[in-house]
């Protein structure tokens, strides 16, 4: 946009699957700017847009208005917190009963513990949306991921070089996983096309099975390490909120 008056730059909302985001561990130091996380595919990220399933919400203490949330895409989970400083997200979160498909705009936080790092999300907006939006998000996110992978292969860019040094990512694995996920969009579609003429229950069931499956995947991903610093993370997040 043409420059004029105050030049306030908003951070773009990246499209990134959970399995990539959760592999990110490196914070880009940029002085006054908000924290920027370096993604394994070589771009800086401080905000994301995701469309997935709200799997779980849990108030950390009764009446604290501070909620632990968990969203899932077909590749893993996004963990995070919603508090009073995200009034829009909090307002809608209270009305939603998981599991439900939601669109989420979120800031990214990186917790650096002694033995591991953990990426958390801090949603600004949570809105229930239609299934088609989720399907398009998967396709769009795959498109963006594949194009970042291409850029990594080309090299040259400063952040790309940094990502090679920090993560040395297995790009083939990323590519394979991304394509796998895209295929599920078509599979789901064929399921719905066939069943839509029949009774709705089957579709519901299908959805339930899917969610169950996602849950399992999630459990698989929950490394035992995570529990150990769950408390620390919370404490850290709270102090951070106070600063806001």
């Amino acid at each position: 946009m043409i420059a004029g008056g105050k030049s306030f730059r908003r951070a773009v909302a990246r499209r990134v699957f959970a399995f990539e985001l959760n592999n990110a561990t490196y914070r880009i130091e940029s002085g006054d700017k908000a924290i920027q996380l370096l993604l394994p595919t070589g771009v800086a990220c401080s905000r994301i847009f995701l469309v997935g399933v709200l799997l779980d919400k849990e108030e950390t203490r009764p009446d604290s208005d501070f909620w632990k949330v968990k969203f899932s895409d077909p590749t893993g989970v996004f963990r995070g917190f919603v508090g009073r400083f995200q009034p829009d997200a909090l307002e809608t979160l209270l009305k939603i009963e998981p599991p439900e498909i939601v669109a989420v705009v979120s800031k990214i936080r990186l917790f650096e513990g002694e033995t591991a790092t953990l990426v958390t999300v801090r949603p600004e907006i949570i809105v229930p949306v239609e299934r088609e939006v989720r399907d398009y998000w998967i396709v769009e996110t795959a498109k963006h991921t594949l194009s970042r992978i291409e850029n990594m292969k080309k090299g040259g860019d400063e952040l790309v070089e940094l990502a090679w040094r920090v993560y040395n990512p297995d790009l083939d694995a990323y590519e394979e996983k991304t394509k796998e996920v895209v295929k599920t969009v078509l599979e789901q579609h064929s399921v719905i096309e066939v069943k839509s003429e029949g009774d709705e229950e089957t579709v519901e069931e299908e959805l339930a099975v899917k969610t169950e499956k996602e849950r399992e995947e999630v459990e698989d991903l929950e490394i035992s390490d995570l529990d150990e610093f769950e408390f620390e993370e919370e404490e850290w997040d709270l102090s951070d909120i106070l600063e806001d």
């Binding site: 908003r10 773009v12 398009y136 498109k143 394509k179």
Partner: protein, 308 residues
């Protein structure tokens, strides 16, 4: 490090060669290495010092070398500060200069983009006029508050040219997700005299005044690479949600709260993908046409799977 110096040395030597002076790369390299490696002089200072040394050594007329190093490029190719370039561009807009050091300031544009320019008073150049096209030779890029601009200084030249340079289209098409709805959206009141939006029933110009209702959304469309601040008018909103001004008023009445309109619009509009066309203003994209994105998923997926 050695590689980097090698690279810089050949660049400097090449610069002299293109102006017709043979400078030995080895010689340049030795001098650069001494400054950068031994004396830890910052790279750009080292380059300047070495370049100046050879300019004196060969008695190169300064502007001859400068001309040789300022290629004619497009505005979109200006990506980092400190680039010496030449541009063919049209003066899009002149702003009021806020400092006695600045002779003129405003925007210039070519087919590829628009950029801010500053003509320093010290540069001592004739004034440019809005709507005319010029060849700007030897201008230097700079970044100010996160945006690129070009500075016109003593070494620059400005010549009017008899060409009409096309500016980038002001109307653009965007596909992206609506990821934010900003303040002063929903059911708003406008001043009857100037149409400005009232905050707390007060017009910023006319104070307490007669007003009328309007419906609008100021929001942010994000495509994962860029974001666009957009304004939707009543017609756009009605097409997307079925809520027009009348419906909005009755929602506000039912809930005894004008803000309930905004909540309703947020839950219906946020987080979805849209395809829209709009005209660029200074900050906002004024939307002329918008619809929910109707993507052919199967095709998109197939393209992705075979494309790589």
């Amino acid at each position: 490090m050695g590689n980097r110096i090698n690279e810089l040395a050949s660049q400097i030597a090449e610069k002299f060669r293109s102006s017709g002076y043979e400078v030995s790369v080895k010689d340049v390299y030795k001098r650069l290495k001494l400054l950068i490696d031994e004396f830890k002089v910052p790279e750009n200072e080292a380059i300047r010092t070495v370049t100046n040394y050879f300019i004196k050594e060969f008695d190169v007329p300064r502007d001859q070398l400068v001309i040789a190093e300022s290629p004619l490029i497009k505005i979109a190719d200006i990506k980092s500060p400190g680039q010496w370039v030449s541009l063919k561009a049209k003066v899009v807009q002149l702003w009021d200069s806020s400092s006695p050091n600045v002779s003129q300031v405003g925007l210039i544009g070519d087919e590829s983009g628009i950029i801010k320019f500053i003509i320093w008073a010290k540069a001592n150049k004739p004034e440019v006029k809005e709507g005319k096209c010029y060849l700007f030779t030897n201008v230097v890029s700079d970044s100010f508050a996160g945006r690129m601009q070009v500075n016109i200084n003593r070494n620059s030249r400005i010549e009017e040219i008899d060409e009409d340079i096309q500016l980038p289209p002001r109307e653009i098409e965007v596909v992206g997700a609506l990821i934010a709805i900003q303040q002063n959206s929903g059911l708003i009141r406008r001043c009857k005299i100037c149409n400005r939006v009232l905050t707390k029933d007060v017009c910023p110009i006319h104070g307490k005044t007669e007003s009328y209702d309007d419906l609008r959304v100021k929001g942010v469309i994000d495509d994962g690479e860029n974001y666009y601040e957009i304004i939707l008018n009543e017609e756009n909103i009605k097409r997307l949600t079925g809520i027009g001004l009348d419906e909005a008023k009755s929602i506000a009445m039912e809930n005894l709260d004008r803000n309930s309109v905004l909540s309703e619009l947020k839950s219906r509009l946020l987080g979805r993908y849209y395809k829209l066309r709009g005209t660029r203003g200074e900050r906002y994209l004024i939307v002329s046409d918008i619809g929910v994105l109707n993507a052919e998923l199967r095709k998109e997926v197939e393209k992705l799977l075979e494309g790589v």
